[in-house]
Amino acid sequence: MGQAIGQARPPIAAAHLRTDAWWALPLTVVVVLGAFGAYSTWAAFQNAHYFAAPYLSPFYSPCLYRSCLHATFGGGLPDIYLPIIGLLSPAFLILIGPLSFRLTCYYYRKAYYRSFWLAPVACAVRDVKPGYSGETRFPLILQSFHRYTWYVAVLFIVLLTWDALLAFRFPTGFGIGVGTLVMWINVVLLAAYTFSCHSCRHICGGHVNVFSKAPGRYRVWHLVRRLNERHPVYAWLSLGSVGLTDLYIRLVSMGVIRDLRII
């Protein structure tokens, strides 16, 4: 390398010279993500109150087996007894899909690398840890598999859309309740988050270099690019909506609140 490496940097000892509230954003992220993590873990452990006809909590979808209170597809699949299901709530198995998508998401990576990894905690503020290997070693090299988690996330959008369709089917026939709207808002926000993903943008056309020879992919890429500009907004809104949807269905199921029928 050139002569610059190893020469003296400005002799300024301070870790940073910032005078603004640079700590406020990472602290907010810690509080919000921490609160969501605590609530979703608690809700997953419950293995109860995840269904209030005809609403199914997104934490417990897909409900695949016959013994499930609200089988996602028709009569449900034959029950399979895995040892782990007896010990843990099935929500833990279900949440692996969406959780891995969010964990490897390019936006959330920024959020938690700053807030939890402290590398860096804020721009132009010195890293807390002296050593650094980025995403070149295990386990962070697995972030490269975000593409695969996106494929799984798309599958979950299909499943949750089906659940939202079933939310029109009340025991008395077709209807719309507040819960139906809650579930649809959740699906729309989750779909916006999933389809605004950077991997989605790349798969839809980002890999193309000569757009003029691929006009269809250019149009799709252009649409996803517009969505992608709001990816962080969708990331936070959908995180909130999925938690609040579970909370709403849980409270209705527990009888704490009553679901209002609109139609």
């Binding site: 003296a8 132009a124 050593g131 593409r147 695969y148 991997s199 270099n209």
Partner: protein
């Protein structure tokens, strides 16, 4: 008129310290104006690099209150009357004197980037590109090489040992611009991964936040490069490209050029 205490770094590789200067400012003044006023009235030996004073030459990069900025584009009315404002050189690179840094690291990195390798021209001997083909590289061409993104990037700012293995955000957008170029035929995969060190970037987006040209360095430059690396082990993309053919994507590029 508002008066500020300007806390300016004075020193060289042998040592240095911040010195305070009380400066009265006028309407519309920017930090660079204040530095010039200090030079004119209090410290004629204060060294600073500048040229256009219009945010286009990228010379007057510094850290104002700890934030990497162009001095010529930082208005004094951002700060409260009487506030103490610190001005330091960009801290990622070696200091020459006062506010002047040696940014030659970047010029060395620039030499390493594999240049464009043009495909053969059309049958009439001409090259043709459509606007939609060059929209993405054109965003990166707005770069004024102020190196604020390189300065704020924690990979090289806080980990000196990574400077050899990491190109930095400025050069990732340069590489991305070349890699997305519709006439280019070079495969830079190995370079991006091994020599430019794209895996070291943990996409915390500070480079994007400080860019005075508002280039979406991370979203439109670095992440697409990471995705292009991921293409290499995505069987679904591989299959789709097999069906579609090779004309529009990277798969048709010259693999021997690594």
């Amino acid at each position: 008129m508002p008066t500020y205490t300007m806390r300016v770094f004075r020193g060289d590789p042998g040592g240095g310290e911040f010195k305070d200067y009380r400066v009265e400012t006028g309407e519309g003044m920017v930090v660079l104006d204040v530095i010039h006023r200090i030079q004119a009235t209090q410290a004629p030996d204060l060294a600073c690099r500048w040229n256009c004073k219009a945010g286009k030459c990228g010379s007057c990069s510094a850290e104002v209150n700890g934030q990497p900025r162009l001095m010529c584009m930082t208005r004094m009315n951002l700060f409260a009357d009487g506030e103490t404002v610190s001005v330091a050189p960009i801290r990622t690179f070696p200091i020459i004197r006062d506010l002047v840094a040696d940014v030659s690291y970047n010029f060395e990195k620039a030499k390493q980037v594999p240049p464009l390798r043009l495909r053969p021209p059309d049958p009439d001997g001409k090259y043709r590109m459509m606007q939609e083909d060059v929209d993405r590289p054109q965003e990166f061409h707005k770069c004024i090489e102020c190196f604020l993104c390189q300065d704020v990037c924690h990979v090289i700012r806080d980990h000196e040992d990574k400077k050899r293995a990491f190109a930095g955000p400025r050069f990732f957008i340069k590489i991305a611009g070349l890699d997305m170029h519709p006439l280019d035929t070079r495969d830079r995969s190995a370079f991006i991964k091994d020599q430019a060190g794209v895996g070291l970037c943990n996409i915390t987006k500070c480079c994007t936040e400080v860019c005075p040209e508002h280039i979406h360095i991370t979203d439109n430059g670095i992440i697409p490069l990471k995705e292009r690396m991921a293409d290499g082990f995505d069987p679904i993309v591989w299959l789709l490209r097999k069906f579609r053919g090779k004309s529009t994507s990277r798969i048709g590029r010259d693999r021997t050029s690594r």
